[in-house]
Amino acid sequence: MELATITYIVVGLTFAVYMAIAIAARAGSTQEFYVAGGGIHPVANGMATAADWMSAASFISMAGLIGISYNGYGGSVFLMGWTGGYVILAMLVAPYLRKYGKFTVPEFIGDRYYSDTARVVAVICLILCSVTYVIGQMKGIGVAFSRFLETDYETGLYTGMIIVFFYAVLGGMKGITYTQIAQYVVLILAYTVPAIFISFQLTGNPIPQLGLGSTLAGSDTFLLDKLDRVLLETGFKEYTTSVRLSTLNMFAYTASLMIGTAGLPHVIIRFFTVPKVRDARKSAGYALVFIAILYTTAPAVAAMARLNIMQTIEPSPGQHVLIEERPQWFKNWEQTGLLAIQDKNADGRLQYVADPQRNELIKLDNDILVLANPEIAQLPNWIIALVAAGGLAAALSTAAGLLLAISSAISHDLLKSTFYPSISEKMELNASRCAMGLAVLGAGYLGLNPPGFAAGTVALAFGLAAASIFPALMMGIFSSRVTREGAISGMVVGLGVTLFYVFQHKGVMFVAEWQFLPGLGKNWFFGIEPNAFGCIGAAVNFIVALGVSRVTGEPPEHVRRLVQEIRIPAGSVAAPAQH
């Protein structure tokens, strides 16, 4: 059967499953719409959180980021950064917000800082980071369709929008949760099956996590030693030791991704769906287990696919492949523009070296490592089709989670809590459906007309969440002294300095011509790159908030009680004796 036909069948089947779930899991109340009724089992929620969390970027791009752009060890910032945040979530965030027991993140910030202004500032921060994030997912959907199903980008995007619209508007958090569970199964199979085959072919060990540390099949040479040597011979840096810019930059990058993770509203609200505080703790653990299956496989895919590409081009030392005889998958992916070659020295052979003057593999896109993996390993067509369905599942599940965070912030925090407290539950449910519909349309519009900044968006979302929402949550839980003035100024200044640093490097709204203060030079703040700046923004937020709180009195008594109550899972704390 033709590859395209199989792909249509596999992708079509997964979509049919998502639709069926959507019809079965309609939401009948605001509680179901916002938090799936609060009755999701922690293991199920862990799985849904994993799908919510792992975006098109994790699925399609991360292995390539590690294996190509960050040349191995440098890519560890993503592996540690995007998993370490769950330890923070499990211990420092999720249980207390679950005890608080409301629907949204701005709701907690508004109540804890006894201020509608704080609530609205939190909504703005939430919308900024969720919208920047969702654009990347919409693009991922369009790209996955156009590459695998040979439709054009727009058709792919519209199809994705219709699917998300259907189950998100109908089912809210309830529909999203159950589809995310199905999407997790699809995406994890699609990721691990090719990895198992590749690991087995290269090392004889089918478990990629062990294969990465094994010897190459039929030799005594360790895979990583071989990769180090091949890269050094072609002028690259050693795979296992090449640092991203500097140790300090790697430190800041990892920290920013970790605290960004713990501050992303669409992840936090997933912990509102479980019945109990101890389920919230457990659920973070299960989520990390499900995430780790992909995240510990990714470095193996990165190293193995990189080695495969190096060896395809130079099968034995000094013997480069004849361009005429390059494998079929090479030609296939050249047509998509992800690979491009140019025979600079006109010897009819392909050279892939670090020196840009002599390098003939002039385009090697990060996404190629995952997308072309099954073909490189000569796996059957149904596995290629599965990878297509997996990429779509990753993008759809994250998009739906983000859209829910955006729409509930609008219908619940802006409409119900701030501007029209008198609306009935029925009206609020309808409003949340409308807000969801509009959010899908808005995200679709931005996916069709990606603003110049689409490329840098996911990294920016982490920086913004780290610098604005995370510190406000931390101080809200761990201190009863931080005042509304402190929290609001902290969020505004933290967000401000992060945006300043990113835009100063990349242009306002990522329009390259709108760069400013070029005299400061690149990465001028201790050599820290803009993507790694979120933790600096967070530090500024903490300092400003704590400083301002010192001079603005004490929060009212009921806030002190609130902080006391969220710290214990059940029961209450006796009011102090009256004097």
Binding site: G72, Y73, G75, S76, L79, M80, T83, G84, Y86, V87, A90, M91, L92, P95, Q209, L212, G213, S214, T215, F222, L223, L224, D225, T240, T241, T247, M250, F251, T254, A255, K276, V277, R278, R281, K282, A284, G285, L288, V289, A292, Y295, T296, P299, Q564, R567, I568, P569, A570, G571, S572, V573, A574, P576
Partner: protein
Amino acid sequence: MSELSEAQAKEYWKRNRNLMIRLMIIWFVVSFGCGILWVDTLNLIQVGGYKLGFWFAQQGAIFVFIGLIFYYVVAMARLDREFGVEED
């Protein structure tokens, strides 16, 4: 539903906080420590095909993170029972 006195609530929070601090130190050591700050030294040790520092950065830290969360789950369940604040 039990009601804690203010002193009990303080004690509960202090024990929770001490546990969190201990676990977050391990969290820091395996990722920022073994994976970044001391990576060159640890890379001198070879475990199978892995340099140890590289292994921590790309695999080991993640496994330890999972262990930390589940340890916290169990330890907190015990603490909740001790103070009578577990949910039924």
